[in-house]
């Protein structure tokens, strides 16, 4: 009868030992050649935890060269894989893992400020010999770089959808019949049969982005910032388009636009992202939609417009009023006298002479510390990673 002695898991102290000659293989299998799907069924950010356990062992044996070498290879490996795969899934995956590694280097640094939520067991897993503060700064810089790449990729996917989905999408039944005279059905660049750029398609795309980031264990605060950034861009692209198109400036477009924005707000609520600040970035577009729907005749109307349009600049308000086109013969044009009245009201605001929004503007990103409740000795490394040369210590 064959007797097998299995090493007890309780002996595992949460460190991984490897020979220096295996560092290249480690980085290849865990970083540059790793497909996110390989680890999708494991704990989120598994590569980051494995890398930390390797760093911890190098620290434990007091080998500063090994720590330097591993961190440098890791960072260069991440940069290399992101240069090769400029897609949302891979970029989000490495943003999540880079941030998690950064959190681990803080949580297990031995700095009391980062240890407040640690269990006694987690405190045993702190670094013993080295202070990696400078590497934390490098990982923070790398995270910013990856975040910017992630936003660029997402914007590239969303950008072609925005005008059609948010401005031209006619989901309210019967509204297309009240389009401004001569503009009926001319604005849409897509055929009726092609629904790839509908608002539903845009929301489906937002769902894909969100579930990818969420499933990969990206910090909730970073997801919120990414969504806010994308909503800002959608607002800027849609408003800029509206400000340059006469056929968009009508009562019916205002009505449809407000409805479309409410669908996006609903999506934010459904994903528990209503506190992210994303909805507030849509305020200029919301006000433009309301401006299109308000009466534009009397002095009281002018006052109402001025008190409502607080985030639109004077230039933008005047431009929309100038472009405004009545939907039928019963509606009157905006008179020159009314526009002068509005201008007089807004004079004291001293708004900058800005018409278009900067669609490339980026909010500064922050990566708040987010310690993990996981303990290193509970982490299982699947055989599919090809890391059998790592010894559990």
């Amino acid at each position: 009868r064959q007797v097998t002695v299995q090493r007890k898991e309780k002996d595992f102290q949460g460190m991984l030992e490897y020979g220096k000659e295996d560092e290249t293989l480690l980085i290849r299998n865990l970083v540059t050649e790793l497909k996110p799907q390989t680890v999708s069924a494991t704990v989120p950010c598994l590569p980051a935890y494995i890398l930390y356990m390797c760093i911890r062992h190098a620290d434990y044996i007091n080998d500063d060269q090994k720590v330097h070498s591993l961190l440098t290879s890791t960072i260069n490996g991440i940069k290399k894989v992101l240069k090769k795969h400029e897609d949302f899934e891979m970029t989000s995956f490495w943003l999540a893992n880079t941030c998690r590694l950064l959190h681990c280097l803080k949580q297990y640094s031995g700095d009391q400020g980062f240890m407040t939520q640690n269990t006694a067991k987690q405190n045993e897993h702190c670094l013993k010999n080295f202070d990696l503060t400078e590497y934390r700064q490098v990982l923070n810089d790398l995270s910013i770089h990856i975040y910017q790449q992630l936003i660029k990729i997402a914007e590239g996917i969303l950008q072609p959808m925005i005008v059609t989905a948010v401005l031209e999408n006619e989901s309210i039944q019967g509204l297309s019949g009240v389009k401004p005279m001569g503009y009926r059905k001319r604005s849409s660049s897509m055929g009726d049969s092609d629904n790839s750029y509908t608002l539903e398609a845009l929301i489906r795309q937002l769902n894909t982005f969100h579930s990818t980031m969420y499933d990969q264990g990206l910090d909730p605060e970073i997801i919120q910032q990414a969504v806010k950034q994308l909503f800002y861009m959608m607002n800027a692209v849609a408003l800029n388009n509206l400000l340059l198109r006469k056929d968009m400036c009508s009562w019916s477009t205002g009505m449809q636009l407000r409805f479309n924005i409410s669908q996006l707000e609903e999506w934010l609520r459904g994903k528990n992202l209503h506190q992210s600040g994303a909805a507030a970035t849509m305020e200029p577009l919301i006000q433009a939609a309301q401006l299109l729907q308000l009466k534009k005749k009397t002095s009281e109307d002018a006052e109402a417009i001025c008190s409502l349009c607080t985030v639109l600049t004077t230039q933008q308000i005047i431009k929309i009023l100038n472009l405004y086109t009545p939907v039928n013969e019963f509606e009157e044009r905006v008179t020159v006298a009314f526009i002068r009245n509005i201008q007089a009201h807004l004079q004291e605001r001293n708004d900058p002479p800005q018409l278009l929004l900067d669609s490339k503007f980026m909010f500064p990103v922050l990566f708040p510390f987010n310690p993990s409740s996981l303990t290193m000795d509970s982490i299982h490394i699947p055989a599919s990673l090809g890391l059998e040369f790592l010894n559990k210590v």
Binding site: D64, V67, H68, L71, T72, I75, N76, K79, K80, G110, Q112, L127, K128, N129, F130, D131, L132, T133, E134, Y135, Q137, V138, D141, L142, H145
Partner: protein, 31 residues
């Protein structure tokens, strides 16, 4: 009593740009 902070040796890290240059020179060195 508060735990005494263990003294750890600060490991100097290159910047991201310096790492990129190290990485590029390694790539160049490979025939």
């Amino acid at each position: 009593p508060p735990q005494r902070q263990r003294q750890r040796v600060l490991l100097k890290a290159p910047t991201l740009a310096e790492m990129e240059e190290m990485f590029a020179s390694e790539v160049r060195a490979v025939p």
